[in-house]
């Protein structure tokens, strides 16, 4: 702080403006609070007073069954987390490779480009569930002698799909990097590969971080689909309890656990997007 800023005192006009702004913001917070509480009260009242609420409560929100099934569902979730971990690594590598393959110019690379384009088009269109069935039951069918754990097959299927999504996001990011950046890098004598690695991809990543995090959140819940292959994950554990008790509470427990798992990432995505937005508003990016 210099002496000049220390000596400066806001004028009466500015103080008045600040008071006004504070009052306005207090009023909007109050309105938001009241309307939220009112809405929640009405929605809750409608549900609780509906004729079959007691039965529904017993089937979906049974505290005893929730407590009983919680440990094994949590154990199942650990499998989901491991699958997520390995799938993320595979997706990062394969997605980047595909994006780079699609970005190659010139007629020599036509086959590579066509291959990558075909792959992304195919796997972006295929429902994850169908890929899971094809990989989970197709690959073991090829050679019944070799036993591949279903969790591994599930990881492969999820990776196949999400590599395509991520490749597409990365490609869009790479195209958003201004061509003059490539020219500048090549002018310094950097090879095509080094230009991509040191100049284009780092800038592309910055542009698509929110989109990538979004895909990650989406993958976080899609790893729950591996239960269809018989992998004993959180959802499968819930299903096992449900089959013996005829009560759906375990599914609700599993669902809440998935939400809890994704929550940090969702908040982080919001935070990063907001930060990038303010950076752009001040004209801070080139």
């Amino acid at each position: 702080m210099t002496d000049r800023t220390a000596a400066w005192q806001p004028s009466a006009l500015e103080l008045d403006r600040r008071l006004h702004r504070r009052r306005a913001s207090r009023r909007s917070v109050l309105i938001a609070l009241v309307s939220t509480v009112a809405f929640a009260a009405i929605a809750g009242w409608l549900v609780v007073t509906s004729p079959n609420w007691e039965a529904v409560r017993q089937t979906f929100f049974n505290v005893e069954i929730a407590a009983e099934s919680f440990p094994r569902i949590l154990e199942g979730l650990w499998l989901n987390i491991r699958v997520l971990f390995f799938a993320t690594i595979v997706v990062a590598i394969v997605g980047t490779l595909l994006a780079v393959m699609r970005s190659l110019r010139g007629p020599v690379f036509f086959p590579v480009r066509a291959l990558a384009t075909g792959y992304t088009d195919l796997f972006r269109g295929l429902p994850v569930l169908i890929v899971l069935y094809l990989v989970g039951f197709g690959i073991p069918g090829l050679n019944p002698e070799v036993r591949i754990p279903v969790a591994v097959l599930g990881t492969i299927a999820i990776s196949l799909c999400y590599s395509a999504y991520v490749a597409e996001v990365l490609r869009a990011g790479m195209e958003a990097v201004h061509p003059s950046q490539r020219v500048a890098a090549r002018s310094l004598g950097l090879s095509h590969a080094k230009t991509l690695r040191l100049v284009v991809i780092p800038q592309a990543l910055r542009k698509v971080v929110p989109a990538l995090m979004n895909d990650f959140v989406s993958m976080q819940k899609d790893v729950g689909l591996i239960s269809v292959l018989g992998a004993v994950d959180a959802i499968r554990q819930a299903q096992i309890v449900q089959a013996t008790t005829y009560n759906f509470t375990p599914y609700v427990v599993a669902g809440l656990l998935f939400v809890a798992l994704s929550f940090p990432m969702i908040r982080l995505t919001d935070h990063v997007s907001a930060r990038m937005a303010t950076r752009e508003q001040t004209g801070g990016t080139v």
């Binding site: 003059s180 950046q181 020219v183 500048a184 890098a185 090549r186 002018s187 310094l188 004598g189 950097l190 090879s191 080094k194 040191l198 100049v199 780092p202 800038q203 910055r206 801070g284 990016t285 080139v286």
Partner: protein
């Protein structure tokens, strides 16, 4: 700074022989012959669209060209067998729009080529970069990102990046045209310093007074080739060609 010459026997740093360039039907360069001697500063002038930028990009092998030969210190760099990355590493380029890398700090921008292309040890590159940045009044910007710098500062960083690895030839393409008049001076001072230190420079500019004061030779581009070449006095005070006279009249009577 004296440029390192792998083939120092050649006093001629750059030689263009009948270079042609077409964009579709647009015949932009129509047989350009040009020679630049070591330590010489050659300024290219000419109307907008006369091919000044195209000429620069062709020399740097960023633009594919259609005929002719280009020799850099005697080496034919247009030979298909030549490694273009090696050639580009020998030429420093600064463009009109500062093409600094926004995701890297000033120091990383400046040392990138030294580290990743020339294989210079990072701490050696760093010391040299800091020395150069200090020389050109950028000592306090070393750790800043480019978007925190003024246009003139950015352009000076771009020039430091281009001279970091002692290029045999510097190509400067209208490096002041995106700057306001206040900032033009600081960039041009830097170019004058480089001239005094013995750099070999080919530059395109619309700053005629600067061209006059810094150039050893002026090349007037017209109709896709150097129409008139001479010392600044010859070109500005006694142009031979009517086209040169017309161009200078137009540009000075604005």
């Amino acid at each position: 700074m004296t440029a390192a010459h792998p083939s120092a026997a050649h006093a001629t740093v750059l030689e263009l022989q009948g270079v042609h360039k077409l964009f579709g039907d647009n015949h932009v360069l129509r047989g350009v012959d040009l020679e630049i001697a070591s330590h010489e500063v050659v300024v290219v002038i000419g109307a907008s669209g006369s091919g000044k930028s195209t000429l620069m990009r062709t020399i740097n092998l960023i633009e594919r060209f259609d005929d002719g030969r280009i020799l850099l210190s005697g080496d034919d760099i247009t030979d298909p067998a030549v490694d273009v990355d090696k050639v580009r590493a020998r030429i420093g380029v600064v463009f009109q729009h500062f093409n600094l890398f926004p995701h890297m700090r000033v120091i990383d921008n400046v040392t990138l080529a030294a580290r990743k292309v020339h294989g210079i040890a990072p701490d050696v590159a760093r010391d040299r970069a800091i020395g150069l940045l200090e020389t050109f009044g950028l000592g306090d910007k070393v750790r800043d990102y480019p978007d925190r710098l003024s246009g003139g500062q950015q352009q000076r960083v771009a020039i430091v990046r281009a001279i970091m690895t002692d290029p045999e030839l510097l190509l400067l393409d209208e490096i002041t045209s995106a700057l306001d008049p206040m900032l033009v001076g600081e960039v041009l001072d830097l170019v004058r310093d480089l001239k005094n230190q013995g750099s070999t420079i080919l530059m395109a500019t619309h700053e005629m007074s600067f061209a006059r004061s810094v150039a050893d030779r002026i090349v007037f581009m017209h109709g896709g080739r150097p129409l008139e070449t001479g010392t600044p006095e010859q070109i500005f005070d006694a142009p031979r060609e009517p086209e040169t006279r017309e161009f200078l009249a137009r540009i000075t009577h604005r």
